[in-house]
Symmetry: C2
Subunit: 282 residues, 2 copies
């Protein structure tokens, strides 16, 4: 078990917004992540935790500084754990053209099998296994839920679908739900996993839900802005909703007129997500 | 009256977070500023407005994206107007060494009289006169209040002290209250106004309050973190509190253990400031 180094600790809504680094064995590089410890954490009992997975171009700091989640997490006594979106560091491959949708900041929460990505890009194992173990060893954590935005909404959904015993609930803002069928997903999955698209299915929420079918009963909430420029082109939200309806899978999809893909959208509805998770984390 | 160009409009908490540019006659350059229009704005009646002045290195976007003020502004029906912190553009002088505390991002809300600053650095007149007129002509505004952080807290206090008829209340987070006596203030004031420190007094909240004395009755709220690295060295909050107590000027100063100088501090208490102003804006 690697050790945590505390990089910063800032008081926020009566709790502490902290940033840590650690040497990740899964990713083969040093990683940073953020944690919000609500005021209740100092009382010593285990607290429920929400893992938040961020979208393309983000680090662990976007959600921490822009979503305003700490206010409600402080009220509800929920720990927030906010990982980075890809491996990082000088030895880590990046898109040769510096594209925002491949390489650094764009790990897509998969275990890459193709060169040059396979060496470090193992974000699926990092989020599903290494990070929770590390956090369990360093914080007093009770039950877990998971949420995310865009690429991170995709990450949250596939983590929940493949590890239903780990999370009491899942939610997403504008998630990529069918990456095998949209430009962002096809670019990333072909690079990280190769051209055999049968290998991509394990990272596609729609494909996974089709398999799980009516056995899948984890509470799910999805918020989607209708002024989101990526809504249809990048297969956000709607294909998963259609599948849920077709398979009678209980899930709440909410569509919001005029809202876009930004953190202003997330900030507007994050309170609802935290209260949704709090219900199921108890 | 220069025209406004709308650069962006993003839905947020039922209202609109907008960004505008305009040609500023006062500053001799194009300026950008942000506005939050709460849901009540579409009903057509005039709404109260809070001007927010930001601190060193900030543009109009820091407060907009990090403070979480829109949630409460939407509830209370308050318009937020968030200007930039200095003139901008290629022809505008900057600190030769790129220092963060002079030049771009560091206008200190004064009218500069010294070369090379005098040509564009007239932020006092911009905030006191041009921007309110521009906003009055373009939005339906009722009464105004003013608030700010650090250098912007200084700005809010001097605007309120010199224009008591304009604002119903003033508040600040970690304001520089005695810039004539601290390194940030002395560096900026000597550059912008020259070495004759008698010229600096008109921009020093403590000096202005000493003059106004007990005639000054505008409601005032100041929040200050006790883990703020700049608290004593940069003359934040405390000298003004001492003066208020000495002169029997009513004002609330709140000191918060462990809080620092960051937007996490602002986010933690901005709700209180909006509710404070709402009381007096009615």
């Amino acid at each position: 078990m690697s050790q945590l180094t505390e990089l910063s600790a800032v008081k926020c809504f009566g709790g502490w917004q902290k940033r840590f680094s650690h040497a990740s064995q899964t990713l083969g590089c040093d990683m940073q992540f953020s944690v919000y410890l609500p005021p209740q954490a100092k009382q010593g009992q285990a607290l429920p935790v929400l893992y938040w997975l961020s979208g393309l171009t983000c680090s662990d700091e976007n959600f921490s500084s822009k979503a305003g989640a700490q206010r409600v997490a402080a009220e509800l006594g929920i720990i927030l754990i906010i990982p980075d979106t890809s491996p990082r560091g000088e030895g880590v491959a990046d898109a040769p053209d510096g594209a925002y949708d491949l390489g650094l900041g764009a790990g897509f929460y998969v275990n890459a099998t193709q060169a040059p990505w396979a060496e470090h890009y193992r974000m699926y194992d990092y989020i599903a296994d290494e990070l929770p173990k590390l956090c369990d060893a360093n914080f007093k954590l009770a039950r877990a839920a998971i949420a995310g935005h865009s690429m991170g909404g995709h990450g949250a959904l596939i983590m929940a679908l493949r590890n239903p015993e780990r999370y009491s609930s899942v939610s997403a803002f504008a998630p990529i739900v069918n990456p095998t069928e949209c430009p962002w997903g096809q670019k990333a999955l072909s690079a990280y996993l190769g051209d055999d698209s049968s290998q991509w299915q394990q990272y596609d929420a729609c494909a996974l839900l089709s398999e799980a079918g009516t056995n899948w009963t984890m509470p799910m909430l999805v918020d989607q802005g209708l002024a989101d420029n990526f809504l249809d082109s990048q297969k956000l939200s709607r294909p998963l909703q259609a599948l849920c309806e077709q398979r009678n899978v209980p899930a709440e999809f909410r569509y919001h007129a005029d809202y876009d893909h930004s953190y202003y959208f997330i900030a507007s509805f994050i309170e609802d997500h935290l209260r949704f998770h709090a219900q199921h984390l108890r």
